[in-house]
Point group: C2
Amino acid sequence: MSDDLTKFITQYADFPKKGVLFRDILPVLQHPDNFLELIKDMSSSKIIKKADAIISIDARGFIFGTAIAMQSLKPMIVARKVNKLPGDLLTRSYDLEYGQNSLSIQKSALKNYQSFVIIDDLLATGGTATCVSSILRSAGKDVTGLSVVIELEELKGRSCLTFPVESQVIL
Amino acid sequence: MSDDLTKFITQYADFPKKGVLFRDILPVLQHPDNFLELIKDMSSSKIIKKADAIISIDARGFIFGTAIAMQSLKPMIVARKVNKLPGDLLTRSYDLEYGQNSLSIQKSALKNYQSFVIIDDLLATGGTATCVSSILRSAGKDVTGLSVVIELEELKGRSCLTFPVESQVIL
């Protein structure tokens, strides 16, 4: 899949801040057959199959997480940025490629599942995935892995993570 | 569908600010068969079928827009909040139920399509949908309609909109 996918990735220099090369995989959504093939590839992985539920990261992760949830008929819950989720939350802060942020998960959303696969569009430093796994583990839950479309190899995110990582294209 | 759906809607008083009753449809994602049925219902509508492409609103709209895009095999593009999209943008501000915001669409994402259906989780005052339709029309594009899961009837969003509206449950 990776050869086909690279042609859908658009690059933007100095976004969202100077010195960052932003990679955008969303143009693949304009090619429904390719998008479906990508989602089928991602959904066929063991880390998806082993998980009780999918956890999608705000906001681009919602796109791929939802599609995988639909393809695999797995339940999906969300990890969201600050002030976006109501109810009783579990929250952790993290550093990302360009700044700091925090993510929250609703306690009520976790309670019916034991194992989760984390879905996002892109793996950079791994800060986001570490944050989500830290929330999950603090609640006594298991992480089967992280599945992303794009992995930025030079940022070495994979080496910081303590669970399996699957990416469809490595840049 | 609407009788079934209401049981998945969780309500939170005073979120995101005092006086607002927040309705959360995301729990339906924890019931894959019901979620799929909802998406099939939404996708069967004329306003989806007539559209060249789907436009999903940041961020909960991404969830339903992606699922409809996958179900209907239509291209999808996104309308995002400020500072989230790179490239040449078309941007408009809007008032929402609790505050003000702006949405942007990439010019490059619009160019291959003439007609769009707008997808979001919820219709409140209609400010978000009006904002997106105003961007689309400023670029000479057509809006086939707005499709949401929940419509808050007392806020009268529907009466402000100049295109067809479809909702799965009216509260």
